[in-house]
Symmetry: D2
Subunit: 346 residues, 4 copies
C-alpha cells in the first residue's frame, strides 16, 4: 500500500509545526511538502531547532505543496482557508483545516464572531466537523474536514455523554477553561513575554472567546436543544495543555456512580478518551505530547451539580493529533496509527 | 509610643514565616519571640535562608513567647489554636489566629468540616472574623481575631458589594479558584514535588474544600440570606497568589457600568482593595508580596451572568498581611502601617 | 523473529518508569514484567497516571520478573545492582544497569565515592560501560552493561572528539552542568519542594558529585592520560534536561572551523549526536523526550579557550533511552529502533 | 530636612520601572517626575498594572523631569546617556546612569564592545563607578555615577576579597553566570517568548557579552594587574536573579577556612553583602526583590581551585536598588534607607 502524501499549508506556526512533527512519525505518511508564506525558502529546522538533522524540508509555495499531496492540512488565520479549500476541492484533494473557517454550520455565527462572510457557501455543505468520537461516520467520506478548536475539543468530549442523557439544565452551563501558552501561538505579544507571563495567572476574553459558538453548536447537536454557555478561558504559565472545569446543574437527583457507568459505556471503544475512575481528577500533566483526552466526573452533592473536568494537550488532541486522527479515519487507516505515544508523568 | 510586642506561635510554617518577615518590617512592632515545636532551639534563618543576618531569632517555647508579647499570632493546624487562645485570653493578650479555629460562627459547621468540637465555647463568643473591609468595627475591640482563609478572603472581597445589592440568585454561586503552591505549606507531599507539579494543572477537593462553610457564612451575612456555593479550588504551578473566577446569575437586567459604580463606591476608602477599571482583568501577578486585593467586573451579556475576578497574594492578604492589618486596627495604628509595599509587575 | 522479553527491576522510580514507557513503545520488545519492592502488587498506572489504560502492569517480585525476561534492566540505589547482576549472569540473562555499580573500572574509585566495596569482582570484569558512541563494539557482546550517568553522558559526548585530538590541557577542565529536577528522582525532599525550588537556582555538591570519577575515567580513556576536572552541577527549576558548559584550554592556537570539522567527522554516522552548526548553541529545550544529544562548539578567542555546550534529556539519553540503545546494540536491532521520536520545540 | 527630588529618564523599561517602584518606597525621596519617549503622556500604571492606584504619574518630557529633580536617574540604551549627563551636569544635578555609558574608564573598551565613541570625554573624568562596597569614597562626591551592570555586580562582589589577596592566577578566571529573564528587558523577542523560553536553558553570547570589559576593569583595579576572564552568561527560565559560578586557580595551597575568614572580615561592615557560612551555597531564591548579594566559598580540593558562588536580584542590587544605594551615599543618607526589605524564602 502506498503511503499517503501529506502537505501542510501554514507550517511555520505552532499548530502547523506540531502537525509536521507528528506526520513525520506516522508510518504510513510521506510528508510531501510544507508551506509558509512568511518563511518561504527557509528550512523548518531553522525555525524549530528540534527538527535539526531530522526534518530537512524547506517551506515551499502553496501550489507546489498541494500538487504533491493527497491530503492537504491547513493551519491559517481565519478567512484564509476557504480559498485554499476551494483549490483542493477542485483538485480532488482531501482538505483538513485546523483553522476556524469550516467549524461553524451557521454562517451567521461565523459573521458574528469572526466578522467575515462565507465566500463559497457550497464548500461548507461538503464540510464536516472533525471530532472523531462524535462524528466519525461523517468524517469517513468527507472531502473537507474542519478540525475542532482546542477548547471545544476538551469541552465537547467532557460533556458529550451528559448532553445525550437529557438530565441537566442545558441553558445553564458554566465552563471555566485554562490553557497553556502554546495555544497563543508563535507570534510575540506582551501577554506571552516571559517575565510578564511567568508566575502570573488570569482569565481573558471573558464571555467573548470565539470558541463559544463552536462549543454551543456541538453541545446543541448532542442534546437536540439550544444550549447556552458561559465560557471563560484563562492563560496558564505553562507550555501545553488545557483543563476545562465544567459546571452542570442536574434537573433531577443524580447518582454519580450511575453517571460514571454511562460515561464508561459511552467511551468504551474510544482509544483516546480515558474516563478516569471516580475519585481521580483529570490533570493536563498526564497526556502531554499525546492524543489522549482524560475526563473525570465529580458531584457537588450539596447543590446537585455535576462537575466535569477534562484535560488534553492543546497541540495534539486539540490540533495536530486530532487532524491526523481524522486523516486516519478518512483514509481507512487504524485510528491510532502514528498516535500511539505513551504519555510521560514527569 | 512604645512598640507593640508581637509573638508568633507556629512560626516555622509558611504562613508563620511570612508573618515574621512582615512583622520585622513593621515600624511599630518589636518581634518579641517566635515559636515552633518541631524546630525548638533552631534559628529561623536556618529554615528560611533569606532571613540570614537579618532575623537572628531562635524558636522558643510557646509560653516564653506569649509572656513577652502584647499580641500573639498563631499559625497552627486546626484544633490547636483554641487552647492557645484560652491561655492568651487569661493573660490579657490579644490573640490573632491564622488557623481555622475561630472562623466559623456555627459549631456545627466546624464539626462537619473539621471533625472536631469546640472545647471552649465561651471563647468563640469573644472571637471576631478578621476581614477588615467587612468587619472593621468588630475588630477594633476584639481580644480574639480569626484571620480569614486565603480563598475566603479573595472571594468575600470580590462578592461583598454584589451580595449587599440583592440582585443575584444567592443559591447559585459558582466559584472557580486557582491558587499558587505556597498555600499548601512547607510540608512535603507528592502533589507538590517539583517534577510532579511543574507544568501540571488540576482541581482538587472538588466540592469538598474546608473553606466552603467559611465562604458561605460571610456571603450569607452580607446578603442576609442562606447562600449556597460550588467551590472548586485548583493548584497552579506557581508560588504565590490566588485568582477566583466567580459566576453569579443576575435576577434582573444589569448594566455593568452601574454595578461598577457600586463597587467603586463600596471600596472608595479601602486602601487595599483595588476595583480595576472596566475592561481590565485581575491577575495575581500584580500584588505579589503585598496586601492588595484586585477585583475586576465582567458581564456575560448573553446569559445575564455577572463574572467577577479577584486576585490576592495568598501569603499576604490571604494570611500574614491581613493579620497585621487586623493588628493595626486593633491597636489603633494606621491600617496600612508596615504594609505599604509597592507591588512589582515583573 | 521473536520479540525481546524485557524486565525492569526498580520500575517505580523515575528512571525505571521512563524506561518502562520507552520499552512499551519499542516495536520489538515485550515488556515481560516490572518490579518494585516498595509498591509490590500495585499497578504502575497508580503511581504514574499517564499510563492509565495503556500500561496495565502490576509490580512483581524480582525473581518473577527475571524469570520472564531475556534482558533485565535495573534502576536501583548503588550497591543493590551487584547481587542482581550475579543472579542474571547465572541465568544467562543480559543485565543492563542504570545504577552506578558497573560504571567504574577501578574499585578504589567506587570505594572512595560510593563508600562500598565490590562483592563480586569477577562480574565487573564482564561489565562494559554502555556509552554506545564510544564503546559500541564492547556492548555488542557484553552480558553486563553499566549504563552511564546522566551528567557523564552529556560531558563525554561533548568532549570525546576533543580528547582524542590531544590539543588541550587535560588536567584543567572545568565543567559547569545544569540539570532539571527529574534527575533528583521521585523521592520527596526539601530541595525539590515546589515553592522552594520554583524560581530558584543554585549549584550543589560542588566538587563532590559522585559522577566525577566516572567522567574522569571516560575522558582519560579517550586521551590516554590522566584527566582532572572541576565538576559543578546545578539544579534548574525545570523538569528535564541537562546542559553542560565545558571550558578547555587549548595547548596551541586553534581554529574553531577546523575543530568543528573534526567534530562533524567524528559524529558523522551517529544517529543520536547532533553537532550544531557554528554559531548555534545547544539548548536542552530541543531534545526533550528523545534520545538526542546536541553539541555546540565555541571559542573564547581572547583566551584561546574552547567552550563546549551539550544538551540531553537526562531521562532519555541520560538514562532509559540510552539503556534501550544499548539493548538494541546488544540484541542486534537497528540502534534507533523504538527511539526515533521527533523532538518538539515547544 | 527636605526630601530629595528624584527623576527617572527611561522609566518605561524594566530597570527604570523597578527604580520608580523602589524610589516610591524611599522615605526621603519625592518622585518628582518620570520620562519615557515611547509612552509620553501615558500613565506608568497603564504599562505596569501593579502600580494602579499607587503611583499615579504620567511619563513626561525629559527636560521637564530634569528641571524638577535634584538627582536624575537614567535607564537608556547605550549612547543616549552621555548627552543627558551633559545637560544634568550643566544644571548641577547629580546624574546616576543605569546604562553602560559611564562604566568603562578606557574609551577603547567602549569603542570595541559598544561600537561608539565618547562625545564628551571631560564628563567621563567626572564619572565614578558606582559599586558602593568597592568605591564608596568616590561616590560620596561624584556628580556622575555609572551604576554597574548586573553581571559585573554579582561577579565583582564575589571576587573582590580574593583579588586583593593576590593568591590566584588572575589571567585564568572562568565565570559561568546564569540570569533570569528580566535582564533581557521589556522588549519582545523570540528568545523570551514564553513557550520558547519556558522549560529551556542555554548559554548565549559566549565569550562575547558586553559586560566582559567592565568585569575585567573592576577585577584589574582590585588586584592591580591585568585580568582575563572567560565569561559565559546563560538565560534561566525564571524572572529574577543572577547566580555566578566562578572558578579561580590558586597559586599556592589554600585553606578554605582562612579564605572564609578573609571574606567575613572584608564584608564585616557591609549591610548588603552576606558571606554565607562554609557549607552553604548562594541561591538567587533568597534575595529576590531586595538589595542583598549573597556570596558562598567552596574549594575543589582535588584541583586547588577556589569556586565562588554569588547571587543577587538583577533588578535590585543589579540595577535600581544599587542606584538608590548610590544616591543614599551621595546625599548623605544612611546607605540602607529605603532598601531594608526582608527577602522572602518562598
Amino acid at each position: 500500500m502506498k503511503k499517503i502524501r501529506a502537505g501542510v499549508i501554514g507550517a511555520s506556526g505552532y499548530a502547523g509545526a506540531e502537525l509536521v512533527r507528528l506526520l513525520w512519525m506516522h508510518p504510513e505518511v510521506e510528508l510531501a511538502g510544507i508551506n509558509s508564506k512568511s518563511y518561504l525558502g527557509q528550512k523548518i529546522a531553522d525555525l524549530y531547532p528540534s527538527f535539526y538533522q531530522i526534518i530537512d524540508l524547506p517551506f515551499e509555495e502553496e501550489d507546489s505543496v498541494i500538487a504533491k499531496s493527497d491530503v492537504v492540512f491547513a493551519s491559517l488565520p481565519h478567512g484564509l482557508s476557504e480559498p485554499l479549500a476551494k483549490k483542493c476541492d477542485a483538485l480532488g484533494k482531501v482538505f483538513i483545516d485546523l483553522g476556524a473557517d469550516f467549524r461553524l454550520d451557521n454562517e451567521a455565527d461565523y459573521q458574528e464572531w469572526y466578522h467575515l462572510q462565507y465566500q463559497e457557501p457550497q464548500l461548507h455543505k461538503k464540510a464536516v466537523y472533525g471530532l472523531p468520537e462524535l462524528f466519525r461516520e461523517d468524517i469517513k467520506t468527507a472531502s473537507i474536514i474542519g478540525n475542532p478548536g482546542c477548547y471545544p475539543t476538551s469541552i465537547a468530549l467532557a460533556l458529550a455523554p451528559l448532553m445525550k442523557l437529557d438530565i441537566i439544565h442545558e441553558q445553564h452551563l458554566i465552563i471555566d477553561s485554562k490553557s497553556g501558552t502554546t495555544g497563543s501561538g508563535k507570534g510575540l505579544s506582551d501577554s506571552t513575554h516571559f517575565p510578564r507571563l511567568n508566575e502570573s495567572f488570569a482569565p481573558y476574553k471573558i464571555g467573548a472567546h470565539r470558541h463559544t459558538p463552536e462549543i454551543e453548536q456541538t453541545l446543541g447537536k448532542l442534546c437536540g436543544k439550544d444550549v447556552s454557555i458561559s465560557f471563560t478561558p484563562h492563560l496558564l504559565p505553562i507550555n501545553r495543555g488545557i483543563v476545562s472545569t465544567i459546571y452542570a446543574d442536574a434537573t433531577d437527583e443524580i447518582h454519580v456512580e450511575e453517571l460514571y457507568a454511562q460515561y464508561v459505556k459511552f467511551y468504551a471503544n474510544e482509544p483516546f478518551v480515558r474516563v478516569l475512575p471516580l475519585g481521580k481528577t483529570a490533570d493536563l500533566k498526564y497526556m502531554k505530547y499525546t492524543n489522549y483526552c482524560d475526563v473525570s466526573l465529580h458531584m457537588d452533592e450539596r447543590n446537585q451539580r455535576i462537575i466535569l473536568v477534562s484535560a488534553i494537550d492543546n497541540m495534539v488532541k486539540g490540533a495536530g493529533g486530532q487532524a491526523i486522527q481524522n486523516m486516519n479515519i478518512r483514509f481507512g487507516y487504524p485510528e491510532t496509527m502514528g498516535l500511539s505515544m505513551v504519555p510521560a508523568s514527569f
